[in-house]
């Protein structure tokens, strides 16, 4: 098996695991958003890998561009919400977001 494809695949998985691990273990809202971003990096990697395997980067490139645009908007919205929560709670602790439960 091609070293590069395997390396990319493994890297992508490791990035996903890193992101998800961070998502679960961290208590800071901004860090959580960064974790999501890391997962999205892994996805970008997977998409370009898909293009590489298919022999044409054109379509995945279009995908990646779209994904990046969406990613940014999501990050902005998430940051906005995080800042609003900070205004209410005085910190960014996710553990304080437990008014909704049950």
């Amino acid at each position: 098996m091609n070293t590069l494809t395997m390396a990319m695949l493994v890297t992508a998985f490791l990035l996903i695991v890193t992101g998800l691990f961070m998502l679960v273990r961290t208590n800071n809202l901004i860090r959580i958003i960064i974790a999501v971003e890391i997962v999205m990096k892994a996805i970008t990697l997977l998409l370009i890998l898909a293009g590489y395997i298919n022999g044409s980067e054109l379509l995945p490139q279009a995908f990646i561009v779209t994904v990046i645009v969406i990613e940014v908007v999501v990050a902005v919205v998430a940051a906005g919400i995080a800042i609003r929560i900070y205004r209410h709670n005085g910190d960014l602790d996710i553990r304080k977001l437990n008014r909704l439960n049950g």
């Binding site: 890193t18 691990f21 961290t26 860090r31 890391i38 990697l45 490139q61 279009a62 645009v69 940051a79």
Partner: protein, 166 residues
Amino acid sequence: MNETILLICLAFIVIAAIACAMFRSMLKCAVSLAVVSALLACVLYLMGATWAALFELSVCAGLVTVVFASAISLTSTSRHQPENEEEHRKRVAGLPFILIATGMMLMVVIAATGFHIEPQANAALVGLSFKDVLWNMRQADVLGQIIVILAGAFAVAILFKESDKA
């Protein structure tokens, strides 16, 4: 040659991601993310996806880092919270081990199942430019991007606008 650089880039991406997760300082964390993005842009460039690399570098490494930096500065308190940061380190301390375990498990699974993917030639899109593909073949996505940006604009207007009452 390309391949070696790619592999090195990939290795550094993982290291930067781990650093991003482990850093106590939020700012360093955001910068690490920018490093991951930049390295990813390198990878994209080397794989031939130049437009995507450009977007990755400018938007993700640039714009998103700015967004995070401003968010961090907006939410930083004058009170330093060392205990929180110390706790964070404890909570993510297991990450390297988990990554090593995951990597080994992946190797084992790939070896055991005979998982096999090879690059192959693709004649379907030969002769087309990225512009053609994005603007012509992905019209729905382009429309979607427009709407997403519109949505982002409204979101910023709603979330960031200071309250009239306050």
